[in-house]
């Protein structure tokens, strides 16, 4: 039943460009990006028990790296993979420093590192374009030299690229959290001391979790510049780090699909409200408070029994 529903969802997403307009596709791409961003974030929060406020930094590293690559060598695959790789390296380096602490200290450290990346993006004008950001980034063709080259100018084509990346990344994430690695991370979350006592290297596992979360943030970021043709410093700001936090809280921390459902809900709510009022933040805030108070385990938990199924 569950598999059938999943298959149906994938088919539906695959056929979406046939039924909807460009703007809905554009919004769906954004929902997929936030889903990837939130999934990675939830590996830290929901599975490892670490609340990071600096994920937007890695998102921005992925986005800026992809943008710079695309501007220098117009190849979509190179841009995206390059962006993910750079974000992975940076998250590994900053992870080495951040995972030395837990709880609020970890959150503050990640917030600081995230804002350091924001400051770099904002002030290093020669490299990042400063406050104006990088503009005119091409949506380069998807090509493997000698094999194929697909034009990415139509939004539909790029939608399929993002969809394929998302499906692969979600599947990989599913395998990760259901592997011994995922179970170990949950063990560390539930009792760090007990995990250490059975011989698990808590720090190493936390570092792996942090790097994977950074890679997912980097992937979401790297998929952004070809869509928007621009990258600006607000993508690195801590308020952008709050988006996966909100999406995950809305959807549910302790459920696999929670961040994905939360991302969709967050974007749809935001887009609908912003059309009617410039005070959309107030309205969204009220809705989030109601949802968080009403569904404490997240919206997805409604579909599961008491205690929640993971």
């Amino acid at each position: 039943m569950k598999k059938l529903a999943l298959l149906l969802l994938v088919v539906l997403l695959g056929l979406l460009p046939l039924f909807v307009g460009k703007y809905t596709l554009y919004m769906t791409i954004h929902i997929m990006l936030l889903s990837l961003f939130s999934l990675g974030f939830n590996l830290l929060l929901g599975y490892t028990g670490l609340l990071s406020f600096g994920q937007a930094g890695f998102f921005a590293v992925g986005a800026y790296a992809c943008a710079k690559i695309l501007m220098a060598a117009p190849s979509l695959l190179l841009g995206i993979l390059g962006g993910v790789a750079v974000a992975g390296v940076i998250s590994l380096l900053l992870g080495l420093l951040s995972i030395r602490h837990t709880r609020i200290y970890f959150s503050m450290l990640t917030l600081c590192f995230g804002m350091m990346i924001f400051s770099l993006a904002w002030k290093w004008r020669d490299m990042t374009g400063g406050d104006d950001g990088l503009v005119g980034i091409p949506r380069a063709p998807l090509e493997v030299p000698g094999l194929f080259s697909i034009n990415m100018t139509p939004m539909e084509n790029y939608y399929y690229v993002v969809l394929v990346f998302t499906i692969l990344a979600v599947y990989l994430f599913y395998r990760i959290v259901h592997s011994p690695l995922g179970l170990t991370l949950q063990g560390i979350r539930d009792s760090e001391t007990r995990a250490a006592c059975v011989g698990i290297s808590v720090r190493n596992y936390r570092l792996i979790s942090f790097t994977i979360a950074g890679l997912y943030a980097g992937l979401a970021g790297a998929l952004l510049p070809p869509l928007e043709s621009t990258v600006t410093p607000p993508v690195a700001h801590w308020s952008h780090s709050a988006e996966p936090v909100l999406a995950t809280l809305l959807g549910g921390i302790y459920t696999f699909a929670g961040p994905i459902v939360g991302a969709a809900l967050f974007y749809i709510l935001k887009d609908i409200i912003v059309r009617f009022t410039e005070y959309w933040l107030i309205c969204l805030g009220v809705i989030v408070v109601v949802l968080v108070l009403g569904f404490r385990g997240g919206v997805v938990s409604m579909f599961y029994g008491k205690g929640g199924q993971r």
Binding site: G133, V135, E228
Partner: protein, 443 residues
């Protein structure tokens, strides 16, 4: 109680029957008449088939409507609304009414791009206009070919929009109705080259595209006319700067003769007030507040101007000034705007108002809403607007029209200060022309 109810029910039934009979007898001729009228109307409407094939022409606009710069967005909205109301009251454009949707660009390029996408691909805008921030304009410009829509930029002023994107990269969907940074940089150079005692210039500029391009062009041009001039200090202020005292202190440490400043709207007001508090106007010979001729800024410093606190040293320009030109079109626009909104229009109101009339003229000329046709119609168009006669030069889609600079002074005819002691220099003499030589822009 129940008795009275019964009676009333009976009375009601009686009345209903009477009304029904009356309705049947009177109603038939009435329905017949209505049907005849409807038929007549359809017969009359048939030859008046919509030329453009649409009931409404949708115009999507955006500007900043939140934060310290929000008045600009409001003025764009007010100016365009006034024009749309005027045009619709006269039957619209070729029988189609105008409809507008306006969104907040938040001075964020990513938001401006998202808005443009939404307006063009979801809401169904036939034409786009607006955008306050230069950074946002540089982000929206490149996606216009994909959206296949004309966008008239009414405020964003970096010269790169028309020089690089239109003349350089050939993005024909971009047009700009307002004068670019030529105004605050090249015109300012023309004014101040005549002041031999001002030799040391400092800048307090926006830490984004607008500030960088203005300062670069100002230095480049003034140096050509006055090789003896020095640029002694520069301070960069990002969006949302509230406290300018570090910037003021930094540039005053270099002991400049004059200051050239770009922070605009509410930030411009804060900058000038803080400069007064720090005694800057006792030490310098002139302060050029680039977009100081904007209504929100003039309102903000009204009391200080009346009190003579700027010691006759405050200069400014704008992209349109409500007291210039002295033409019937401008007087009518200012009067109508004041009547409708109970305020004076700033330049973004005039450029937005004129934009709607440019769209009207283009649609009437080409009798089509196709982007390619509209581009051809606007290229080379000459049109009379409140700001004067504008020419959209085909090379870079930039509107050419005259706006003077001058000193901010109090005038008894206006409730707020105006730009007086006007230095009118024909736009043709100070605009840049293609082929454009790039200007080195850096810190």
């Amino acid at each position: 109680m129940s008795e009275s109810k019964k009676i009333s029910r009976r009375a009601f039934l009686k009345a209903a029957t009477a009304a029904g009979i009356g309705g049947i007898t009177l109603g038939f001729p009435m329905t017949e008449l209505a049907a005849q009228q409807k038929e007549k109307a359809t017969a009359q409407a048939k030859p008046k088939k919509k030329v453009l094939g649409v009931d409404v022409i949708k115009i999507g606009g955006q500007g900043v409507t939140s934060g310290a710069h929000a008045d600009y967005g409001w003025q764009i909205l007010a100016g365009s609304t006034l024009a749309i109301e005027e045009i619709n009251a006269k039957g619209g454009v070729l029988g189609s009414k105008l409809e507008m949707k306006f969104m907040d660009e938040e001075l964020k390029p990513a938001v401006a791009v998202k808005n443009a996408r939404y307006l063009a691909t979801d809401w169904g805008a036939h034409l786009l206009f607006g955008v306050d921030s230069s950074g946002s304009a540089m982000a929206v410009g490149p996606i216009l070919p994909e959206l296949d829509r004309v966008c008239m930029f009414v405020h964003a002023s970096t010269h790169r929009l028309t020089e690089e994107l239109v003349a350089g990269k050939g993005i024909k969907q971009i047009f700009r109705i307002s004068v670019p940074v030529y105004q605050e940089s090249i015109l300012a150079s023309h004014i101040f080259k005549e002041f031999p005692n001002i030799k040391r210039w400092a800048g307090i500029h926006c830490d984004y595209e607008y500030g960088y391009s203005t300062w670069a062009l100002f230095k480049d041009t003034l140096k050509k006319y006055r090789p003896d001039v020095e640029f002694v200090s520069i301070a960069w202020a990002p969006f949302w700067t509230m406290d300018f005292s570090p910037h003021i202190a930094a540039v005053m440490a270099a002991n400049p003769d004059a200051i050239h400043a770009t922070p605009w709207a509410g930030e411009g007001v804060m900058l000038l007030r803080q400069a007064l508090m720090l005694g800057v106007f006792d030490k310098i010979q002139a302060w050029f507040q680039c977009m100081g001729g904007s209504v929100d800024l003039l309102e903000g410093i009204s009391r200080e101007v009346e009190g003579g606190k700027f010691k006759d040293k405050l200069w400014a320009t704008a992209r349109y000034i409500h007291n210039y030109p002295d033409t019937p079109e401008n007087k009518k626009f200012v009067a109508d705007f004041r009547k409708r909104w109970n305020r004076l229009p700033n330049y973004s109101a005039e450029t937005a108002y004129s934009t709607i009339y440019v769209f009207k003229a283009a649609v009437e000329k080409t009798r089509s809403l196709k982007t390619d046709d509209l581009i051809k119609a606007i290229e080379g168009m000459e049109i009379m607007t409140p700001g004067g006669k504008r020419l959209f030069r085909p090379e870079d889609h930039q509107a050419v029209y005259d706006v003077p600079g001058g000193k901010i002074v109090k005038d008894p005819n206006y409730p707020i200060p105006i730009i007086g002691d006007l230095k009118v220099i024909p736009a043709k003499t100070y605009y840049r022309y293609p082929p454009f030589t790039p200007i080195a822009i850096g810190k």
